[in-house]
Symmetry: C2
Subunit: 480 residues, 2 copies
């Protein structure tokens, strides 16, 4: 295989879509499965997901949420119990009709989402106020048949996600939960993946069909398209009434409960690839990198090798003792140059190079992946790499914020909006709150309301479409 | 609800099967899903699985194994590629025939196991000796339609498991891997779940159809039935040939690779319930208990409450600082007696009782769940609970070994075997190695060869069935 075949052959600027697919495949994050629409995760991809899962689990647990397990099969009769909800998923459902040679009477759906299944159980489990709040999260997959071309992490017929489902005695408590989760989502995505997000509400048109309202976090990708990064829904009593999720209060009076549901998926990994990756491949934020530091020894003779290897091992051990995920690349048959490209493609945050001259100077060379900066570090300061990794993490968020800021625009008129929409980006514009205008804008520009930021109520302007008094200033964009 | 409804209403000795189901449901480990054959895990059940997963993950990782993700859908054409293997699963496969309104051409199977899918990918990923060994584990579920009555954790149509799939350059290395995994399985089950196991090989008749040979760990349950606790298969080149899992060696000569696969499922949780549970409910080994210590305050007036609560909180904080998973049961409306029953049902290893008299004596009462022993502990020695939990863990294994020893019997003749088999238990008996004898024994007694222990080659006796010279001394039993 030539060097070209191994590395990325198109530039992020010229062919974003092809660049993305090459990074996913060549950095060995994922691969296509034999069924159209499905992908598999290779260890380097799955470990980013595991890292996110661990962080979310810790935060969920502190918030009184615990994990459970739900089966993948839901009977058709149950899925149809909440009609509006069902209608939304119906065209995408995979149906199981046979087990072995036997036909199944009530067809079984592969879970597109688990509200109906979870709440059937919750109605059994919840009797009294003592059973509330009930807060359970499920790490599983959802299955929704995709007809468009597969895009790893972004458009697949089965995807990894978590879905949380909570039940509360009061409306206020449920609404607080919706916001607590959105906050956990936001700070995890910013702190772990170094991706800035805008949080707010979805419009009525764009909300989850089963919800009273949907809160969302959205990010703008380098190609100018918006990506929904996670949603947290206030379900009100939309499910508790049909599913009879009821509780007796302290005076033994029965009430329907108040509910929330919320989820993030492996789309987050897709966003991370798009936001941080460059023309050499993947760039991983240190916190989620399976390997944070790779050590590449440099030698050209048995004699220099004998000097370099023991020092490399010593550094490896020192970094490992600081809980850094460090790898020593001791492959003897490959050149340092090949190794540099290989680890850059895979996005390892720091590369340490050690050669005979470095040993003379008692220092090593450090190459930072995200900004390609090279510095040297004294051997006796090697533990500073802990704080260098922290700095990289922060700088990656700062640089993503700048990128995202450049992609966020204000427009004063619909004419301006139409002329700029094909450049891509987030557009802040006034809106009257009327769904008709929203639909017209979508029809004419393919852009929709991604998010109505929480602080964007604003009646001082005029709807960019109809010129009536504005209600708020949402973020419009074309989306994934 | 009366106290009887909440607690276990049958005894383990009198009606083991009903006792088991009540423990699962009433300790809130699991519940039935709306589809026959499927269960859901509630947080207390799932957290035992999470704890096992974390332990296995650490051990797998040390052994160079990493996790990945595979989709649940496998095309029929692919599943049928290894014929013998497919024939074994065919009657149990769930088939997806439609997505939305559209019929799917090549029907999709819900994964009964992932050999065919994984190895299709492995054949792409592996080119040269540098890509080996490839060792990936998948935490997912398997789906195999069950026709018999559902038994939570033991017989369900979807079950949580892990399936590991490794590829090696040499036969020797693959066979070593099979044994390393079996060893990880054994020490995890013994150390975490306090369950002794017998390890060895399956007979030709009982092996995984796709394997050259299957190694297994088996345990004997208190009702005298054997439970397969996990298997590790040497696949030889049975899959690498049809799936073309090949590699070029250093001289660029192509070879078919050598493979292993292995798995444990949530059956392990079923075994834990059966082995340790008693007539008051679940008994959890400390290492996998979501709550290791519960503190129950005892007071009969506002005045005594004011003394007791702060001390209880102080102890809670002290134990939490030692990384003990501790819960303070401050429910004001329930009696201590009710709480004792509740936490006993749920199997919490240690209960601490604190009342006003305890505070005078500067000590608390400790009740150990597994042997019902009560002792007192001085407040200033409270951190000793760390080592008390360790002791409980060890003693539970010791006591399970004694139980298992009593259920392990030697028989000298087939007549004796037939007369004793209905008592249940593991039976060590000579066997000639001939499958005909094995089948006759199965036919006449419903017992099969559970495991041929590694140290059981023995030609000094006579086959209990045909009286010919023995080859080994396997363990016979009726199984789950």
């Amino acid at each position: 295989m030539s060097k070209e075949d191994i590395g990325i052959t198109v530039s992020k600027e010229d062919d974003f879509s092809e660049w993305y697919t090459q990074v996913v495949l060549k950095a060995k994050l994922a691969d296509y499965a034999p069924v159209k629409g499905l992908i598999v995760l290779r260890p380097d991809g799955y470990s980013v997901w595991e890292s996110l899962r661990n962080t979310f689990d810790q935060k969920f647990f502190k918030n009184g949420i615990r994990n459970g397990f739900l089966p993948v099969l839901i009977p058709e009769s149950l899925l149809g119990k909440e009609k509006k909800h069902f209608a939304g998923f119906n065209p995408e459902v995979f149906w199981v009709t046979h087990s072995g040679e036997n036909e199944i009477g009530d067809r079984l759906a592969l879970r597109p989402t688990s509200e109906t299944l979870a709440y059937t159980l919750y109605s059994k489990w919840i009797q009294s106020w003592r059973d509330l709040p009930l807060k359970i999260n499920f790490w599983n997959t959802a299955l929704r048949a995709e007809i468009k071309a597969t895009k790893p992490f972004l458009r697949t017929s089965e995807f990894l996600w978590q879905e949380g489902h909570t039940v509360h005695a009061t409306k206020e408590e449920a609404e607080e939960e919706v916001m607590k989760i959105l906050e956990i989502y936001k700070n995890t995505v910013e702190d772990e993946l170094a991706i800035p997000v805008v949080i707010g509400k979805k419009s009525e048109k764009e909300k989850f069909v089963g919800a009273v309202y949907t809160t969302t976090m959205e990010s703008i990708m380098p190609d100018g398209k918006a990506l929904q990064m996670g949603t947290s829904h206030f379900l009100g009593q939309n499910f508790s009434i049909p599913f009879e999720v009821k509780f007796a209060d302290k005076d033994n009076v029965e009430h329907f409960a108040w509910q929330t549901s919320w989820g993030v998926s492996w789309r987050l990994i897709g966003a991370m690839i798009m936001i941080h990756g460059d023309n050499k491949g993947l760039v991983l934020p240190p916190k989620v990198a399976p390997i944070q530091v790779v050590i590449v020894p440099i030698y050209n003779s048995e004699e220099t090798k004998k000097k370099v290897i023991p020092k490399a091992i010593e550094i490896q051990e020192e970094l490992a003792s600081e809980n850094i995920r460090v790898h020593f690349d001791d492959r003897d048959e490959l050149t340092p140059g090949y190794k540099f490209n290989d680890w850059e493609l895979k996005g390892v945050p720091i590369r340490i190079e050690i050669g005979p001259k470095d040993i003379e100077k008692q220092s090593a060379l450090i190459a930072k992946r995200y900004n390609k900066e090279k510095t040297s570090i004294q051997f006796d300061k090697i533990k500073n790499i802990v704080s260098i990794l922290d700095e990289i993490q922060k700088q990656m968020l700062e640089s993503a914020k700048i990128q995202s800021g450049k992609n966020t625009k204000k427009v004063d008129s619909y004419a301006e909006f139409k002329s700029k929409i094909s450049e891509g980006g987030f557009f802040n514009a006034y809106w009257c709150g009327n769904q008709e205008c929203e639909e017209k804008i979508k029809e004419e520009t393919s852009a929709d309301i991604r998010v109505i930021p929480f602080d964007s109520e604003d009646t001082s302007g005029k709807c960019m479409y109809c010129q009536k008094q504005s209600m708020c200033k949402p973020v419009f964009a074309r989306g994934y």
